[in-house]
Symmetry: C2
């Protein structure tokens, strides 16, 4: 049995707790939290909760530590630090800072002889894999990533920070016309506005100036100004009833040509439709935790990404079973 | 530059010749054929053609040999034999015989210290990868593979063997209702007949008994009896005008559940829409030839499948570039 522990316990940590229970070759050692352990309510009553301060006491009891902190401030510190004593895995998703995070984590993990997998999830993660496979197979081509329909936590938070706003939920929606143009093989150049639209559901104070808030959302730089944005004002009851889920998904499409003169077109499309973004991300983390464990057992160490993991390491099946049944 | 050679020159070999030209880190050493070299007409005038009998003379000039023979009789003999002297790659696609082929090839390649990749293409190949990734990420789920719309060579050949038939083309078509049921997350049990239908275009002799031929097709065991089959009789001119392409494609769909009680559903869908089945298969072979070369350079040997290849080996980009731009 592979012994998994969770460091940091929010939606993602809960997802990892559920995912480990679905994998018969794994068991959950427990959850490490910065909160007082007795205040942490886990999904399963049987799950043990420990203080993050005590984590080093258990370094020989844990095969892989799944770090479930945030990319802004938690992971840049936690992953390099914890890789000094554990095989670790994180879902670091600040694309622009991946090279820096990789370098920091690699130094720690090489020194400790552990495996540290970073940026595992669906984007970065499964979507990255499909960008790589698509480009390798069809070098004369172009790839497109669309996100949604799904809830963007960052954009929802940005709306919540506006004066008079009580709650908000923002959905990123790929524009059907852009998807169709890509699927047609025309390799269109698409602007930000042509690819996605943003739909917002907003609860405001009774006295709030709705027109002013709507304008403030639609003109917000970086978040909304470059998009067509739709704003709906709803009641708190409607918010709770209709927008409590965390769905997401999207598409990676590679369109390319082959032949002596590029006379044949091909389309590779990978899509995800997810009821729960954190639970799916957690499921990806958990199967890469299996890979981290096995790769370290074979003597590998250092920082790895999904690009470095041979697919067979992810499956609970043996190589013989995989060849006989999945190939 | 990675020096690629082609062993066996039909549609697939021509596809490899075109694909190597699209990859700037590769060059084509030449084509080896069992035919007299001067009778082989290649896509590019510059391509050199050699006799298969002379292949061992060039063992130090070739980095990877792409074996483009058929799975029925060529590859079971050629791949283990050529792996004694070359890094090789094939597209062996008789699913039931993969374990046996693997064992034979592995013995040769381990002894020679070479890499031999087998069963590379899109099914087996890219579809197999997606079955594995899907099952690993969503262990509580079910996967579905649909093929088409596309030309099945085996079924076309079976029709051509009927008395009175001059030419035939058979399209395998996934049934939209079955695809919708799978995408709904209902995890349906689907019979052979419910998943695909078979549409046949047939040219017959003037004196042929069409009703008899149609009946013979529709009741043919293994090939057609378990399917709903549509037969169209057309002229040789129509066949040449409308059915000269070799399109194919299909879908791998994983439908699964997460959460404490499986309360959230997820759908992963991978699809291919290919203008030319052999050229796409060739493109997959060529990027795995890059991987074979690199893995052998690093000291690895033996038989490998797509499951054993870390994705980074497939790309012409460096690991740094991949992390910065594709992750």
């Amino acid at each position: 049995m592979i012994k998994i522990a969770i460091a940091g316990y929010g939606n993602l940590g809960r997802g990892v707790e559920c995912s480990v229970a679905q994998n018969s070759d794994m068991e959950l050692f427990g959850v490490f939290s910065r909160r007082a352990p007795e205040t942490v309510k886990t999904v399963f009553d049987s799950t043990k909760v420990y203080s993050m301060n005590d984590i080093l006491k258990y370094k020989d009891d844990i095969d892989v530590l799944v770090i479930c902190g945030g990319s802004a401030t938690d992971l840049p510190v936690q992953t390099p630090e914890l890789a000094k004593n554990f095989n670790v895995i994180d879902s670091f998703d600040t694309h622009a800072k991946i090279p820096e995070h990789f370098a920091n984590v690699d130094a720690s993990a090489k020194e400790s002889g552990k495996i540290a997998m970073i940026s595992v999830g669906w984007d970065p993660g499964m979507f990255s894999l499909n960008r790589l496979y698509g480009e390798a197979v069809l070098p004369d081509g172009k790839d497109y990533t669309f996100w949604g329909k799904g809830v963007s936590q960052g954009h929802s938070d940005a709306i919540r920070r506006i004066d008079g706003v009580l709650d908000a939920r923002q959905y990123t929606i790929p524009i059907e016309k852009a998807l169709s143009a890509v699927r047609s093989g025309l390799n269109p150049e698409l602007s930000t506005r042509e690819k996605h639209l943003r739909e917002c559901f907003v609860v405001v104070e009774d006295v709030a100036d709705k027109a002013k808030i709507e304008n403030e959302i639609k003109t917000m730089p970086n978040y909304f100004a470059d998009y067509d944005t739709i704003v709906h004002f709803i009641s708190m009851d409607e918010m709770k009833r209709d927008h409590s889920g965390i769905p997401h998904g999207g598409f990676v499409i590679r369109s390319g040509k082959t032949g002596a003169n590029g006379e044949h077109s091909h389309l590779i499309e990978y899509s995800l439709k997810l009821d729960s973004n954190p639970e799916f991300t957690a499921s990806v983390l958990v199967c890469y935790a299996r890979a981290a464990y096995r790769m370290n057992k074979e003597g590998m160490s250092g920082c790895k990404t999904v690009f470095d993991v041979a697919p067979a390491y992810l499956s609970a099946k043996t190589p013989d079973e995989l060849r006989a049944h999945l190939l």
